[in-house]
Symmetry: C2
Subunit: 452 residues, 2 copies
């Protein structure tokens, strides 16, 4: 039987013993977090919301950060290393000379990559005596990952879930409740910011910005409680680099050359960075394939990188977070109701923004209808139904594979299939019934943003 | 880092190159399929509904049947070998000396083991020129697996889906449609048997029995069309033995002894047989551990093995199938609406029935509330939310692990976690909201059954 590169082995020794921190390898220094008065945020100012170890990681300039043994065991227990598949059928269908690989994070218990940082955050919190974590969730992928992490480390978890999702998408909420988390529709009567909004409008549908504000206020005002975030920040992206580090070892193991093209979708940037940053280090920083093309895919409905500006902005609508320098369409921007809930975020991670600014990462944007069409083709070829977020990467992969065919180039492509879509079938239903709507804002108001 | 048996490696060489056929190793000859007049069914009489190669497998008495290379590649592409996990956290929580392992089939694209036979059936049909497959589905796990298999081998697939499920559970239907299958609510106007029922009651909710009748009639009356079944028959169980064959190699690889207890849930018997039959061969037939205890778990609501009788019965309500000798609660029995849709079947596979009759397999039955309670504990300990069907096995595992604690025995337990429950969260919702109902029939009418 001749089986070549359909799937790399998954063995313990593929698991890296460190995460990769891109900060020391950026093409220019990372602009610091800032307070509204323009001063830099000092590490100790974050102690009310994060444990010391995570703050240390957030500000670290060390290239490699050791993964504690207990977390390594847990990564294994939960299904890491995840498989590296070759999409041979898709290649044949597209009649492309490109070799297409994907790292599939959907085998993990909650169906996406989010658990990679959720357990790390829960672990370091547990070590420092945190008893309770708060967070926000929109579509629910992050919330369910943190709910599971809380169960695994004996921490209580409260998730502020955007009320519209809470009411319309009960299944993600049930998943969080199975894991024992308390799920609160936001805006809620439990916080000052929630109560103020409910007084004005008792039926307010909520927003991710409001939910972040509530989760932070809850953490700051309740003893033993810290806050957890699922993307954007350095320490979150750091934990996700286990994806790319595994992929590099898997490429070695099957004797494949380093990729010519690396692709991921971007909401805040965590699954993208998780795959792409280790390849950035290997190929660009270490000079093994400087020609590598790194593509970040976003929805046209929330075009932070393709139509936003590079400036300091808040992470939430209520401006409770520090300001971060990033590509942003502005914290007042209301993302249209596309099905890729995880991509409905106004900014991107500061490290990613810096790579985009320096033309190292190339952003592209798609409409959701073309994205779902690509996803259905992928499902019929490879079997896996992609999450609507990951489907954005699939669309870019197909475009690159077609380009490789036209240019007759044997490109090696890898992308992050960050999750499956089995909890997102309502979006596929709209696609199949031709009811999907595409959104592209005519004008985006950026005038109120800082220009630090 | 000391990591011991959390998870076995997943590499190509774990894939077996053959399936295991239990027929020659049964404790007594397998009673043949019969026609209503009492005559044996001859292989050639099944040609209208199955391709020759599958009929050959159905009647085969060879112990090992080679898996074609193309199928082996596809098993790899779809994610086999599946992981063998150790449930260390569950062991610790239960404070048991038992070592608990599980084979996790939920990493496969449609989220369950059903794809193992779906691709084999589609492949052999494709080889013999079949253009179109029909089948029935209740909850939808089997239908979605066959839909994907059809997409992979270029066969059209029509799934007759019980109308009540079609209307109430749109997501499984959407999954089948993503893969390109045609999904028809049953009873339908496309078949004589469907039309007859619709004439009497245009709003008939349908049943699995009716859907089977429609799918068979469709196959028999349309050129180029064959019928596919997801459980019960010898060739279907045969294909599933890849699960147990992998598990045996994985046990060897991690240096674990053969299990003392093997557990699986039973609807028709395919996931159970898939795991248990290869261990039966290794431990009982080959005599490596004759003391092994093999437990088949069923719902108290559909107690074929624990309260049924061993006799010839039809596979469907409409009596279109041949008769099989099995434990059955009768083809007229209407299974109560428990959430484990895959266990709502009146009989069990003839090979399994024979093992139960000979006291080699021990059946146990549970109520769904205690099953969901066990499943939630498992999810909080191990991360994976079990499908309601597989959760029946989880409940039995917990009971056995507690018994091992009480008897201070270091038992090695393995069970089949045949699928995840991410498309079954409505059942968990009812459980969490204390709305689950348990069903236990007071009397079961068996008087009309044959007594061959």
């Amino acid at each position: 039987m001749e089986i070549k590169h359909l799937r790399s082995p998954q063995t313990e020794d593929i698991l890296p013993d460190h995460w990769y921190n891109i900060v020391p390898d950026l093409p220019e220094p990372l602009p610091p977090m800032k307070k509204p008065n323009g001063e830099d945020v000092k590490p100790e100012e974050l102690i009310a919301i994060f444990p010391k170890k995570l703050i240390e990681q957030e500000f670290s300039t060390e290239r490699f950060i050791k993964i504690p043994d207990e977390l390594l065991s847990l990564y294994l227990e939960l299904g890491r290393p995840t498989p590296l598949f070759r999409a041979r059928r898709l290649e044949e269908f597209l009649d492309t000379p490109a070799r297409i690989y994907y790292k599939y994070e959907g085998v993990l218990p909650t169906g996406s990559h989010k658990i990679n940082t959720a357990i790390a955050q829960a672990y370091f919190n547990m070590l420092e005596g945190t008893k309770r974590l708060t967070t926000e969730t929109g579509a629910g992928q992050w919330g369910s990952a943190l709910a599971l992490a809380g169960a695994l480390f004996g921490l209580k978890v409260r998730v502020y879930m955007v009320r519209a999702s809470y009411d319309q998408k009960p299944y993600r909420r049930i998943l969080m409740q199975i894991y024992g988390a308390e799920v609160i529709p936001s805006p809620s009567p439990y916080t000052k910011s929630g109560r103020e909004i409910l007084e004005r409008d008792p039926n307010h549908p909520g927003s991710l910005g409001i939910a972040i504000s509530e989760a932070i206020e809850d953490a700051v005002t309740n003893p033993g409680t810290k806050y957890s975030l699922g993307s954007v920040l350095n320490h979150v992206l750091l934990h996700q680099t286990i994806i790319g580090l595994e992929a590099i070892k898997q490429f070695e193991l099957i004797g494949e050359e380093l990729p010519d093209i690396v692709i991921g979708c971007v909401g805040g940037g965590s699954n993208f960075a998780g795959l792409a940053y280790p390849f950035y280090y290997e190929e660009i920083v270490r000079g093994k394939k400087k020609s590598v093309k790194i593509i970040a895919v976003e929805p046209k409905a929330v075009p932070s990188m393709t139509r936003g500006i590079y400036t300091y902005d808040y992470g939430d609508t209520a401006r409770l977070t520090p300001m971060l320098k990033m590509y942003t369409v502005g914290h007042r921007y209301t993302p249209p109701p596309i099905h890729a809930g995880g991509l409905r975020y106004h900014g991107v991670a500061p490290t990613l923004a810096l790579l985009v600014k320096n033309n190292i990462v190339k952003p592209v944007a798609y409409h959701q209808t073309e994205v779902f069409r690509a996803a259905q083709l992928f499902a019929q070829m490879e079997g896996i139904v992609p999450a609507p977020e990951s489907a954005h990467a699939v669309k870019a992969v197909i475009d690159e594979a077609i380009r490789a065919r036209e240019e007759r180039e044997k490109k090696v492509i890898i992308f992050n299939l960050s999750g499956h879509g089995l909890l997102d079938l309502a979006g596929y239903q709209e696609y199949l019934e031709n009811r999907l709507r595409d959104y592209e804002p005519e004008k985006i108001d950026l005038s109120y943003l800082n220009t630090y």
